[in-house]
């Protein structure tokens, strides 16, 4: 019975992660071909042992070598990392005060404030990103309002730049930052802040010396929850970003659909996964540490 219970997550992992990964990895070792599917070799089981041997003989790491030869790829990886780091920091900057505000709000207000944070999720993600296009474009609402107030004389160019990508990412991933930070702040005992003040801290230094360290786990968890999906983000940069916004998700899409180069696209995906494994492992170690600290 116990084995059966343990088997469930393993089967899940096998069917939904390991098997697809092996398929993608295999494609990344193949060569481009004008065929359906658009790569060779394909495994022909009817030829038996010889067929299998021929199949493996044709697999190679050519595509990975190609990734290192064309500057586009590593630039895209680096640019994705940069965008992910910056947008994680921005999300933290926006999310922390919101989480703090909710945690300090009267009990009866909190449920409603949470509702407001989660409410946008009830609308389709794509529709929300499209509406940002309407807001940020040159004739968009933002520019209209700013022009009307008189803050600017000519429309700002925001859409199709990295700024629009940052806005989109911060907007989309904000709840993932707010929720874990709120969870940490909510547990914070107010008397700790009073004790810090009593011992000579100003409000501000009490925040830095007590509130921030005690919400560290929430900050780390929230940052990973934003950082990890942002690296591979595709929809936001392709809709809000411009031609100069380079992100690996977009490169992947173009290799796959525009160039129909499945093997290179698969190689890009495998490398992306390897890059993501590092923060995921760090994230899980943080969770582990938190669990131990709570015991």
């Amino acid at each position: 019975m116990r084995r059966l219970l343990i088997a469930v997550p393993f089967l899940w992992l096998l069917a939904l992660f390991i098997v697809p990964f092996v398929i993608v990895f295999k494609i990344s070792l193949s060569d481009l071909a004008v065929a359906i599917p658009p790569y060779t070799p394909t495994l022909d089981v009817s030829e038996g042992w010889a067929g299998l041997k021929a199949f493996f003989a044709e697999l190679d790491f050519e595509n990975y070598i190609w990734l290192t030869e064309d500057a586009l790829y590593w630039k895209a990886y680096l640019s994705s990392l940069k965008i992910a780091v910056i947008s994680t920091l921005l999300t933290l900057l926006v999310g922390y005060p919101i989480a703090y505000g909710i945690a300090r709000a009267p009990q009866e207000w909190r449920a409603m404030l949470f509702m407001l944070v989660i409410l946008p999720f009830w609308t389709s993600f794509l529709i929300r990103v499209y509406s940002w296009m309407g807001i940020l474009s040159q004739e968009g609402y933002l520019n209209q309002v700013l022009l009307w107030i008189g803050v600017i004389n000519e429309p700002l160019i925001i859409l199709n730049t990295n700024i629009a990508v940052y806005i989109g990412i911060v907007y989309t991933y904000l709840p993932f930052m707010i929720l874990p930070i709120y969870a940490a702040l909510e547990k914070l005992d107010i008397s700790l802040l009073e004790a810090a003040e009593d011992l000579g801290c100003s409000r501000f230094s009490a925040f830095w010396l007590v509130t921030v360290p005690l919400s560290k786990q929430g900050i780390i968890a929230g940052s990973f929850l934003v950082f990890i999906p942002t690296i591979g983000e595709f929809v936001i940069p392709s809709l809000l970003g411009g031609s100069r916004t380079l992100m690996i998700g977009k490169v992947l899409w173009e290799e796959f659909f525009s160039n129909r180069d499945w093997p290179v696209a698969s190689a890009v995906a495998v490398v992306l996964l390897l890059i993501l494994i590092i923060p995921i492992v760090l994230f899980q170690r943080n969770e582990q540490k938190q669990r131990e600290a709570n015991q």
Binding site: D189, S191, L192, E194, A195, A196, E197, D198, L199, G200, C201, S202, S205, L209, V210, P213, L214, K216
Partner: protein, 374 residues
């Protein structure tokens, strides 16, 4: 050589460290502190005692600076501290929950306040070591708060609040979270530490035994007002109201009408019962409503009517509460009223003189109890 008695409150020239001057604190419609005036002197161990909601915690929080008075002034060492924020006050507080910083070690917790004062590093080290010695925590300096016991945490909280050598230390139910045995030991520890450091302590507690044990003076509070401030023995022996008499320890309360007769005051309280005789109360007019308070341990219980007793009434043993060292007898009078009498069990229980439904005599001297107007 007689010991110099510490009693600055009796000295008209003594300068109080803290003065509450007509302090009122309101939270919306609720008046937590109502026009309160009291002086607290240097090196005192002052206890604020009262039921929950009586305003004692509000008083303490005003001293710490977490609340400001709605009206009136609080003077600390000659300075009105109303506008001074908590971090600029020469007071420190030991919190009921201890409020130890969970992310810092014991050492860092104690050093926290010193670092805020920008004290040189080596001096901080020395001071922290001193505090660790004082509270016998040397071995635990490197541990985190969740790795030590409740009693040790209590001592860390005390060490942390004492580290900055405050003029005034505030203790909010400091022993509330400890079990009874540990609490009693810690009470004496607290008194020793208060004496060695010479710091003025103000303690908030709802435990009257704790207040009586540790404090030099006790203020009994009710509904935002101090009902009586005095030394523990005066509070116990000469309460100024039935509220104080009832709140501190066990008491028998009898109500009746005054009948002053020269040296002695008589009080008629029931048909067919002799009047209660006691020391006179200033200004008690004949026929005035009075209360008489007498502690159970001052009532003797005997089988025969005692001779020459100023007060003697007969009743029947209704209940016996055996507490080991003492027994409390609940004696029912003919009118139905219950009077409690306590006697020390200096004999084994098998030799106990009285049992249920025995007819007994209760007696006490004319100075054993006090008359109260309210």
């Amino acid at each position: 050589m007689a010991l110099d008695v510490f009693a600055p409150w009796d000295d008209p020239n003594a300068k109080p460290l803290i003065q509450f001057r007509n302090v009122t604190k309101r939270f919306g419609d609720f008046t937590a502190i109502d026009d309160l005036t009291v002086d607290i002197f240097e090196k005192e161990f002052f206890a604020l005692l009262g039921p929950s909601g009586c305003g004692k915690t509000t008083m303490m929080r005003m001293l710490a600076g977490f609340e400001t008075p709605t009206e009136g002034q609080i003077i600390l060492a000659g300075q009105d501290i109303g506008p001074v924020p908590p971090n600029k006050r020469a007071t420190n507080m030991m919190f009921q929950s201890y409020a130890l910083f969970p992310h810092l070690s014991i050492w860092e917790n104690i050093a926290f306040g010193l670092k805020r004062d920008k004290m040189p590093k080596d001096q901080i080290g020395e001071r922290v070591e001193e505090m660790l010695r004082l509270t016998r925590l040397e071995k635990f300096a490197r541990r985190k708060p969740h790795q030590i016991s409740g009693g040790q945490r209590q001592r860390v909280a005390l060490a942390r609040s004492l580290a900055k050598a405050p003029k005034l230390l505030l203790l909010d139910e400091p022993l509330g979270a400890l079990d009874k045995k540990l609490r009693q030991e810690t009470q004496f520890e607290l008194m020793d530490i208060q004496e060695t450091t010479g710091t003025t302590f103000v303690i908030v507690t709802h435990d009257q035994e704790e207040a009586m044990t540790v404090a030099s003076r006790v203020a009994v509070m009710d509904h935002g007002q101090i009902v009586q401030v005095s030394t523990p023995d005066v509070i116990y022996e000469a309460p100024n109201s039935t509220y104080v008499a009832d709140f501190i320890g066990d008491v028998n309360l009898i109500s009746g009408k005054a009948d002053p007769r020269g040296e002695r005051l008589h009080m008629h309280w029931a048909e067919g019962q002799p009047a209660v005789v006691g020391s006179p109360l200033d200004g008690a007019a004949k026929g005035q409503d009075l209360h008489y308070a007498i502690r159970p341990e001052k009532v003797s219980i005997s089988a025969e009517k005692p001779e020459n007793a100023a007060n003697a009434i007969q009743g029947e043993v209704h209940d016996i509460a055996y507490l080991g060292n003492i027994s409390t007898y609940h004696v029912q009078l003919p009118g139905g009223q219950i009077i409690k009498a306590q006697s020390a069990n200096n004999r084994r229980i098998s030799r106990r003189a009285f049992t249920w439904e025995d007819k007994v005599w209760l007696s006490w001297t004319d100075t054993a109890g006090v008359f109260l107007e309210r």
